[in-house]
């Protein structure tokens, strides 16, 4: 057993850090550290920079244009990106649809779609959930009927993250009502510019626009956009959900957030002393740090075990539950750290007096907005209740 990074891994970290240092645009880094909303441009700009370096899809095998990194390298990369304030790489293209296309798509789909994902040319969104099919995804009803060389798609997807930015959507659609619900689902790639698609914004709890409803009204999709076999989509979707879940421990992000929380606790005052000297608050920080220390190791244990098998197993649910809880604790503590100065909707509203260190970009964060927004992380990607069900059934056999 050895919990240290090897010399090669440490060298790798140095290389990653120096690349980020000299290539991450400062305006983007400052937005990330502020917790402000990133625009499409910010994500795409960073993706293109990574792509130029050959790091556009670090987790992909080399044969598809990826960097072919190991789990440990991926982890180091994520940690360095988080610490520096690089935008999180959005999972929908590189981490969700791409693995499915690699595993189940045909050659021409791989050649057509994968290069445009690494390069940042195509933005993908995920069309799984529907108003009536959330946790019970298999009950989805959006229908695709075969007519000659096309599927005609009708129905509605819900909660589509960044659907308003997307060039493409990967959808689970119903192609059959025979047999079990799971047996009539297909995996379809749909060009968002196709006539008949309407995207409607859904405003979140913090007032931001990140999710949408996507409506399909007689949308004609060429049959060549079907991935794998008709009615086998559920298998592909489950494969993909595994990928989504591994990514969700978010250890790197949380470490960066913990650091900001500590800075905040040094800067704020309680009873005339720095807040960090308040034992009650400091214990809360200590507690979340313990959780994070444990998760960091648990995460590595799962990831390294995964390297030997193939698709990530139900252990990923442990990472999802703990990762999301820690993220939520951190956003809550940052809000609590501000006391009643967290009340304004926009932090800029406070006088310079209250923002004593207004030169410090971190201090302008919409901290309670982040807390509210972050309630989503225990709901999406399979709610934490569903994750517990998975552990109960798949690991414990209950």
């Amino acid at each position: 057993m050895d919990l240290n990074f090897t010399p090669e891994e440490q060298e790798f970290r140095v290389a990653v850090r120096s690349f980020i240092d000299s290539n991450l645009p400062l305006d983007i880094a400052s937005k990330v550290r502020n917790g402000s909303c990133l625009g499409k441009d910010d994500f795409v700009r960073w993706q293109k920079i990574l792509h130029r370096q050959g790091w556009g899809a670090t987790m992909w095998p080399k044969q598809f244009g990826g960097a072919g990194w190991s789990a440990v390298q991926l982890y180091i990369f994520d940690e360095e990106c988080s610490a520096a304030g690089a935008p999180m790489q959005l999972p929908f293209g590189p981490k969700m649809v791409a693995p499915v296309i690699m595993a189940y798509g045909n050659r021409s789909q791989q050649e057509r779609f994968l290069p445009r994902i690494v390069s940042g040319e195509d933005w993908w969104c995920q069309g799984y959930s529907e108003p009536e099919a959330g946790s019970d995804l298999a009950s989805l009803r959006t229908k695709a009927e075969r007519q000659g060389d096309y599927y005609i798609v009708n129905g509605q997807k819900a909660w589509t993250t960044y659907g308003h930015y997307a060039d493409w959507i990967f959808c689970l659609v119903r192609t059959s009502n025979e047999g079990r619900q799971q047996a009539g689902i297909s995996f379809l790639l749909i060009d968002m510019k196709t006539p008949g698609i309407t995207v409607r914004p859904v405003i979140m709890i913090d007032g931001g626009h990140e999710i949408n409803e996507v409506w399909f009204d007689n949308v004609k999709v060429p049959v060549e956009n079907l991935v794998g076999e008709e009615n086998k989509g559920w298998t592909y979707a489950k494969f993909l959900l595994g990928h989504e879940r591994t990514d969700i421990a978010r250890v790197g992000r949380s470490k960066a957030a913990l650091k900001r929380l500590k800075q905040l606790a040094h800067r704020e005052f309680a009873n005339g002393r720095p807040l960090i000297e308040d034992q009650r608050f400091r214990d809360r920080i200590a507690q979340v740090e313990l959780e994070l220390m444990a998760l960091e190791i648990t995460n590595m244990r799962v990831l390294l075990a995964d390297g030997k098998k193939h698709a990530p197993g139900p252990e990923a649910s442990i990472l999802k539950i703990k990762g999301s809880e820690i993220e939520q604790m951190l956003t809550e503590l940052m809000m609590l750290g501000l006391g009643h100065y967290s009340l304004p909707r926009s932090f800029e509203a406070l006088d310079a007096g209250a923002r004593r260190q207004s030169a410090d970009a971190d201090y302008a964060a919409p901290l309670s907005g982040n807390y509210f927004n972050c309630r989503k992380v225990s709901i999406y990607g399979g709610s934490n209740e569903i994750q517990r069900n998975i552990i109960a059934q798949m690991i414990l056999g209950l």
Partner: protein, 380 residues
């Protein structure tokens, strides 16, 4: 011992509830939250007509002579309606300061005007960078003979953007964190040198940053004893804390109703999600937390009128800490059990959750009041 409310109390609560159900629906409230003032002056006039703005004042000043329990009943209903009107700042905070510390002529001039809905007021006490410290006052008021010059800044003044008059605390003596040497002054919003910068808060209400640059007020603006205002301020803020606890209980009750309803109607896996035992237990915990919070809010409403300041302190801090814990867990659970619907702006659930969260941060959060309560154990 009995926990019964009088006929009058129940009638008042019932009238208010019907008014809110009819005139203060969620969509109307949404429009108000986005308006310039952030609330409705017509609704304010109607609240005056219902007698709510006169509730805690003596009869000789046009009041109804109500106590903190009456205010609790009102706040519960205002909470359920997510009412944005500046009741807390005007009636509870400023109102009790004037009632308890005002001269005859101050009471004559201000209380009937508040009761009648013509005057909006608030208290500007906390300062930038001092968090929840009650005695940490750097704002100064210098006597010039027959007037005072006020200089300083006040932060997160609730309802400060619309208040016609602001009660401001300032040092007339002592050092920065001394208990003695703090005085209160009533300042009109148009006073030269007073800058008010209003803004929306996370829960859709309004607050303001205020700055006092050589604001001159006459001797008659002094409210209560010179140098000795801290106990008066503490008491007024305690009334406000008790009111907020009641508001939180009203919100938690509404959230529980909404969540229970959702558990019975939302179907996944071919059944109402309320069939899943994991959710049943969470719902049960929400109800238990709310009932425990209701007990604490009630206890604090009864004891806040107590003349024993130490006992008042102990019970009010206990209530704020405890209700805060309940509000946090009920709010988070309500959002979680609504799935995606819990984190969207469209449903009132997210708005209730935000208001609960902001209540927790107002006048000392859970840790702050748990700390006070815990320190008092040393003196037991």
């Amino acid at each position: 011992m009995n926990f019964d409310y009088s006929e009058e109390q129940l009638a008042l609560q019932d009238t208010l509830r019907r008014f809110i159900d009819k005139e203060y629906r969620f969509d109307q409230r949404r429009t108000l939250a986005q308006s310039e003032d952030g609330f409705s002056r017509e609704v304010w006039a109607q609240l005056a007509e219902l007698g709510l703005l006169a509730l805690p004042f003596p009869e000789e000043y046009g009041g109804l002579g109500g106590n903190a329990v009456d205010t609790m009943l009102v706040m519960e209903v205002l909470g359920r309606g997510l009412v944005l009107e500046p009741y807390l700042g005007t009636v509870v905070l400023a109102g009790s300061l004037i009632r308890d510390a005002g001269t005859l002529s101050q009471k004559d001039m201000l209380l009937p005007a508040i009761a009648g809905g013509e005057l909006l007021m608030t208290l500007a006490h906390y300062e930038p960078g001092t968090r929840y410290e009650m005695n940490h006052i750097a704002t100064t008021a210098k006597s010039t003979g027959n007037s005072y010059l006020i200089n300083g800044a006040k932060s997160v003044v609730l309802g400060g953007n619309d208040a016609d008059k602001i009660v401001v605390s300032a040092r007339t003596g002592g050092g920065r964190r001394d208990n003695d040497g703090i005085s209160l002054f009533v300042v009109g919003r148009t006073a030269p040198g007073l800058i008010i910068r209003g803004y929306p808060t996370q829960d859709g209400s309004r607050a303001a940053e205020t700055q006092f640059d050589n604001v001159e007020v006459g001797d008659d603006a002094l409210l209560g004893t010179k140098d000795g205002a801290l106990p008066i301020i503490e008491r007024a803020i305690d009334y406000a804390i008790v009111a907020l606890c009641a508001e939180a209980v009203g919100i938690m009750t509404a959230l529980n109703e909404a969540t229970l309803d959702y558990l019975k109607t939302r179907k996944q896996f071919g059944q109402p999600i309320g069939r899943f035992q994991a959710l049943q237990h969470r719902m049960v915990d929400m109800v238990i937390a709310t009932e425990q919070a209701r007990s604490m809010a009630t206890l604090s409403a009864v004891r806040v009128d107590s003349i024993d300041a130490a006992e008042r302190r102990r019970v009010v801090s206990a209530a704020k800490a405890y209700v805060g814990q309940s509000a946090r867990s009920v709010g988070q659970a309500a959002v979680q059990l609504h799935g995606g619907m819990g984190v969207v702006d469209e449903l009132n659930v997210s708005h209730y959750f935000k208001r609960l969260t902001m209540i927790n941060a107002t006048f000392g959060d859970t840790d702050h009041h748990l700390g006070i309560f815990s320190d008092l154990l040393l003196a037991d």
